[in-house]
C-alpha cells in the first residue's frame, strides 16, 4: 500500500462496523431531517382514520371547488366536491403501499437470484444473467400500461409487476458483490474449515451486501412511488383509490379555476420523493464512507522552496525535501521529513527502504507527479542546476519524457487498456519530440527490438491484455528511454515480475544505461537488485535518509543501526534448515 492510498483512499475495506453506521446517520443532518419527514408522513398515513372522518370519495356538490379554509374542508374541495385534505391523507397510504410492494418484490427477487447467480457455478450464473437481461428488455412503463387489461387497473397488481421490472437492478448489484466476495481469501479459509455454502453466504457474504441493498431500497421506493403517481396521473387504475397522481391530474385540469388544488398533492409527492432520494444519498455516505474527491488534475503542489545549495555539479540534487498531506482534522501529516540526495550523471543511486519510508514519494516529487493534495513543505530539487519545484506545469511537462523518464512498478496497470501498445508508445514519442507518425512508428519498432521483444511488429499491434507482464515491462522501458533521457527514475521496476524475468530486465537496464549514459535513480526494497545495479545507496526510513554511501561501503560496513537491521533481515544464502523434522507433541497448547 502506497502512501497515496493511505491518504486519498481511507481504506480498502468498505464495510464499517454495525454501530457506527447508525451513529453516522444520526450525526448527518440531511439524514435526520429526511428520516423525520418520512416518519411524520408515514404516521399521518397510518393515523388517517383518526385524523379525518370524511370519506375521500364522498362527493358533496355543494362544496364544488371550495377554496381552502371553507368550514368542513380545511384544504378545500376538488371539482367533484371531494374533500382535499381527506384525499391527501388517504393518498399517503396508497403511495406508501405502492412503494413498499414495488420495492419489496424487487428486493426479494433481485437478492435471492443475485445470491444464487453470484455464488454458484458458471452455468447457473449464465442462466440467471440471461433471465434478468430478459426482464430488463421489457419497456417498463409501456408494459404496465399495456398490461392494463390484465391487471384491471389494480394498482397493487401493477406495482407487483413493476417490482419484477425493477429487480434486475438489485440483481446486478447483489450478484457483483457476491462474485467479488466469493473470490476473497477469507471465504476460501472458511471453505477449508468445512463451512457449508449456506453458512458462508450467511456469515460472510450477506454482511457485505446489506449496505448497497439498503441504499438501493430507498431509491427503489422513491421510484415506485413516482411510477405509481405517473400511472394514476394518466388515469390508469381505479377512480376510487385516492392517490397523488390522480389529484395532480385533477388539479392540472383545474389550474385556472383553483390553482391551489394542484399545489397540495405536488408538495406532498415532491416531499416524499425528495426525502427518499436525499436519505438514499446519506445512507450511501454512511455505509460507504468518504468518496474520492474531484480536484484539479495537474495542480503543482503548494511549495516552499529553500535556497538552492551552492553550485553542485551533480546531475540531480535533492535538498531537505519535506512532503506532507492534509489530515481530516486540519493538520498536515509529513510523509517525507527532510531528504537530501545527490546523483551524478551516468551513475546509479539506489533509494532503499521498506513500505511507508517515503521513497516513492521522493521519486514522484522529482518527476512532479505527486497527487493533487500533496504539499511540498520545504526543500529544493535541482536538475543540472535548474530548480524544479517552482517550475510551472507547462515547463515541467517539457522535461518529462525528454530529460526525465519514469519506469513504473506494476506493468499491466500502467498501460491504457483501450489502445494498442504501439499507439501508446508513438503518442509518447510524438509528445516529446517533433516526429511524423511514420518516423515515430519506425522508432518505436526499433526500440521494441532493442529492449528484447522478439516480434516487435506483433507487439506493436497488440493490446496490453494480450501481452505478458515481462513484455509489458519491456514496453514501458522502451517508452521511457525513447528520448534518451539524462535521468531515469525506476520505481520498483522488477518487484512485480518473476525472478527469472527480473534478472533479464536488470540486464537490460544495465545495458541501456551504459549505452545511453543515463543517470538512474532506482527505488526498491530489494537489496539484491541494489547490489546488482547501484553504485551508490541511500537508505530511507520514516521519511528521511538515515545513511548513504557507495554500495560496497553500505553492504560491507553499514554504520546506522537501521541499515544494519535491514541487512540483518536478509535471509542468508548459506543458512539452511539443519534440525530434523520435529516429532509431534501431544496437545501442546493448553
Amino acid at each position: 500500500m502506497s502512501i497515496e492510498q493511505l491518504v486519498v483512499e481511507p481504506s480498502q475495506v468498505t464495510v464499517a462496523p454495525r454501530r457506527s453506521v447508525f451513529g453516522k446517520l444520526l450525526r448527518d443532518p440531511q439524514a435526520v431531517i429526511t428520516m423525520a419527514i418520512l416518519f411524520i408522513i408515514v404516521m399521518l398515513g397510518i393515523f388517517t382514520p383518526w385524523l379525518t372522518s370524511i370519506d375521500p370519495n364522498e362527493a358533496q356538490l355543494s362544496a364544488y371547488n371550495a377554496p381552502p379554509g371553507t368550514p368542513g374542508h380545511i384544504l378545500g374541495a376538488d371539482q367533484s366536491g371531494r374533500d382535499i385534505a381527506s384525499r391527501l391523507l388517504h393518498s399517503i397510504s396508497t403511495s406508501v403501499i405502492a412503494g413498499l410492494i414495488g420495492a419489496s418484490v424487487a428486493l426479494v427477487i433481485g437478492t435471492v437470484f443475485g445470491l444464487i447467480g453470484g455464488y454458484f457455478g458458471t452455468k447457473i450464473r449464465a442462466g440467471t444473467e440471461w433471465l434478468f437481461n430478459l426482464i430488463m428488455t421489457f419497456p417498463g412503463l409501456l408494459l404496465l400500461i399495456l398490461l392494463m387489461p390484465v391487471t384491471k387497473g389494480d394498482y397493487r397488481a401493477t406495482m407487483l409487476i413493476f417490482g419484477v421490472l425493477l429487480s434486475p437492478g438489485i440483481f446486478r448489484i447483489v450478484r457483483n458483490l457476491v462474485v467479488g466476495v466469493k473470490n476473497e481469501l477469507f471465504v476460501d479459509a472458511a471453505r477449508v474449515s468445512g463451512l457449508s455454502n449456506l453458512r458462508i453466504l450467511a456469515r460472510h457474504v450477506l454482511f457485505v451486501i446489506r449496505g448497497p441493498i439498503i441504499i438501493a431500497t430507498a431509491f427503489m421506493i422513491g421510484s415506485a412511488i413516482g411510477i405509481q403517481s405517473g400511472l394514476a396521473f394518466l388515469g390508469v387504475g381505479s377512480n376510487t383509490v385516492p392517490s397523488f397522481g390522480a389529484m395532480i391530474a385533477e388539479g392540472f385540469g383545474n389550474l385556472y379555476v383553483q390553482p391551489v388544488q394542484f399545489v397540495w398533492p405536488s408538495l406532498m409527492l415532491g416531499l416524499m420523493t425528495a426525502s427518499l432520494v436525499l436519505l438514499g444519498n446519506s445512507l450511501r455516505d454512511a455505509f460507504e464512507g468518504v468518496r474520492p474527491k474531484a480536484s484539479r488534475a495537474t495542480r503543482r503542489p503548494v511549495t516552499v522552496i529553500t535556497e538552492s545549495a551552492a553550485a553542485d555539479d551533480a546531475l540531480l540534487v535533492v535538498q531537505d525535501l519535506a512532503i506532507g498531506y492534509p489530515t481530516p482534522s486540519g493538520g498536515v501529516r509529513e510523509v517525507v521529513t527532510g531528504v537530501s540526495l545527490r546523483l551524478e550523471a551516468g551513475k546509479t543511486l539506489g533509494l532503499v527502504g521498506e513500505s511507508g519510508s517515503g521513497k516513492t514519494q521522493t521519486a514522484f516529487a522529482v518527476l512532479g507527479v505527486l497527487p493533487p493534495d500533496a504539499r511540498i513543505l520545504r526543500g529544493s530539487i535541482t536538475l543540472n542546476g535548474r530548480e524544479l519545484l517552482d517550475l510551472p506545469e507547462a515547463k515541467m511537462r517539457q522535461l518529462r519524457g525528454r530529460e526525465i523518464a519514469y519506469i513504473p512498478q506494476e506493468p499491466m496497470s500502467n498501460l491504457d487498456p483501450s489502445y494498442t501498445v504501439g499507439a501508446q508508445l508513438v503518442e509518447g514519442i510524438r509528445a516529446s519530440s517533433k516526429m511524423t507518425a511514420k518516423d515515430a512508428k519506425a522508432r518505436v519498432l526499433e526500440l521494441l527490438a532493442r529492449v528484447g521483444i522478439t516480434d516487435p511488429r506483433r507487439t506493436f499491434d497488440s493490446y496490453p491484455h494480450q501481452i505478458s507482464g515481462g513484455m509489458a515491462q519491456r514496453v514501458l522501458i522502451a517508452g521511457a528511454v525513447a528520448s534518451r533521457p539524462t535521468l531515469l527514475i525506476a520505481d520498483e521496476p522488477t518487484t512485480a515480475l518473476d525472478v527469472t524475468v527480473q534478472a533479464d530486465i536488470l540486464d537490460l537496464l544495465r545495458d541501456l544505461q551504459q549505452e545511453m549514459g543515463m543517470a538512474v535513480l532506482i527505488v526498491t526494497h530489494n537489496f539484491g537488485v541494489v547490489a546488482d545495479l547501484c553504485d551508490h545507496i541511500a537508505v530511507m526510513t520514516d521519511g528521511t535518509v538515515v545513511e548513504e554511501g557507495t554500495a560496497l561501503d553500505i553492504f560491507r560496513n553499514p554504520q546506522h543501526e537501521y541499515t544494519q537491521m535491514l541487512l540483518g533481515s536478509i535471509l542468508e544464502d548459506t543458512v539452511v534448515r539443519t534440525d530434523a523434522p520435529s516429532r509431534p507433541t501431544t496437545e501442546a497448547v493448553s
Binding site: 479459509a189 471453505r191 477449508v192 547490489a531 560496497l552 539452511v576 534448515r577 520435529s582 509431534p584
Partner: protein, 287 residues
C-alpha cells in the same frame, strides 16, 4: 503401507478455458510429492507454474481432474463439505494476502474461534483457546475485540497463523505467507513459523516463489515448472547444487545482496544460459 502423512500421486488439475467449445487447460500435469510428520516441504516456482494450485487442490479449493491425495492414508481427493469439516482438524491454511484473508467485518476473536466452533467446541472453551493462540503468536489479548483493519500486515498474518493453529492441525498449507510483507517483518514471521513447528511438530507445505525464503524454512524442496515437478530433494542440495537446468537458472537469477558476489553470480548466470542454449541447439540439431 504409507508412512507419509500427506501423499500426492500424479495429481492433475485443469481449468475450463474461455472459448465456447475449447478444451480445458491443464495446469498440473501429474505431480507427486510426500510430506512426513513435522516436516517442511518447500514448493518453489514462478507465477503460472502451478505451485499454488497444488496447495489449493490439497485444501479442496481446486478440483483435481486426475490423481490421488491421501492424508494419513485416507483418500481426500474429492472430499465433500462434511468430510472437509472433519479433515480441517488436521489440515489448515495460511494465505498470502493478509489484507483479504481475514473477514474485515468480523472481530479477531470471532475469526479465531470460527474453526473451533465448527468443530463443535463450546464458546467458553473456544475463548480460552483463542487467548492462548494470541499469546503464542505474540499478539496482545485485547486484539479479541478489534477488527483486522486496525492491524498491520505482519500482525494480520500472525492472526492468520493463529487461526490455522486453532484446531491443532498436523499440516498447514502456507501459500506465500510472507511474500506481501516487509523484509524485517518477513524474517520475524518466518521465525515464528519455525518456532511453532519445533514446539508442536506441525508439518508445512510451504509454497513460495522466493528461493531464499524456501531455503530458510524447508527440510526438503520441490521445484515446479509449468505444471511439473522437475526436481525434489533435501533443501541444502536443491538450493545450492541443483541438478535440473531450470532450478539452476532459478538459483542464479535471484540477485545476491553483495555487489561483488552479485557480479560473480551474474557472470555464472551468463555462462549457464549460453551453455544451456548450446545444449538446446545441439539437441535440436540431432532431433
Amino acid at each position: 503401507m504409507s508412512e507419509h502423512f500427506l501423499e500426492v500421486s500424479d495429481l492433475r488439475v485443469s481449468y475450463p478455458s474461455r472459448g465456447f467449445r475449447r478444451p480445458p487447460v491443464e495446469v498440473l500435469h501429474g505431480v507427486s510429492l510426500t510430506i512426513a510428520e513435522g516436516e517442511t516441504l518447500g514448493v518453489v516456482g514462478e507465477s503460472g507454474s502451478g505451485k499454488t494450485t497444488i496447495g489449493r487442490a490439497i485444501l479442496g479449493l481446486a478440483k483435481p481432474s486426475g490423481g490421488r491425495i491421501t492424508l494419513r492414508g485416507e483418500d481426500i481427493t474429492h472430499a465433500g463439505t462434511a468430510e472437509r469439516r472433519r479433515i480441517s482438524r488436521d489440515l489448515q491454511v495460511v494465505f498470502q494476502d493478509p489484507y483479504t484473508s481475514l473477514n474485515p467485518s468480523m472481530t479477531i476473536g470471532d475469526i479465531l474461534s470460527e474453526p473451533l466452533i465448527i468443530q463443535g467446541t463450546s464458546s467458553k472453551d473456544a475463548s480460552k483457546r483463542v487467548r492462548s493462540l494470541l499469546d503464542k503468536v505474540g499478539l496482545p489479548s485485547d486484539a479479541i475485540e478489534r477488527r483486522p483493519r486496525e492491524f498491520s500486515g505482519g500482525q494480520r498474518q500472525r492472526v492468520a497463523i493463529a487461526r490455522a493453529l486453532a484446531p491443532s492441525p498436523k499440516l498447514i498449507v502456507c501459500d506465500e505467507p510472507v511474500s506481501a510483507l516487509d523484509l524485517t517483518t518477513q524474517a520475524r514471521v518466518l521465525e515464528l513459523l519455525v518456532d511453532i513447528q519445533r514446539e508442536t511438530g506441525v508439518a508445512y507445505l510451504f509454497v513460495s516463489h522466493d528461493l531464499s525464503v524456501v531455503r530458510h524454512i524447508s527440510h526438503r524442496v520441490a521445484v515446479v515448472y509449468k505444471g511439473d515437478i522437475v526436481e525434489t530433494g533435501p533443501a541444502a542440495d536443491v538450493t545450492s547444487q541443483p541438478e535440473h537446468p531450470y532450478t539452476q537458472r532459478l538459483l542464479l537469477a535471484a540477485p545476491v545482496a553483495d555487489p561483488l558476489e552479485q557480479q560473480q553470480r551474474r557472470a555464472e548466470r551468463r555462462r549457464l544460459i549460453d551453455l544451456q542454449r548450446e545444449q538446446d541447439e545441439q539437441a535440436g540439431a540431432v532431433a
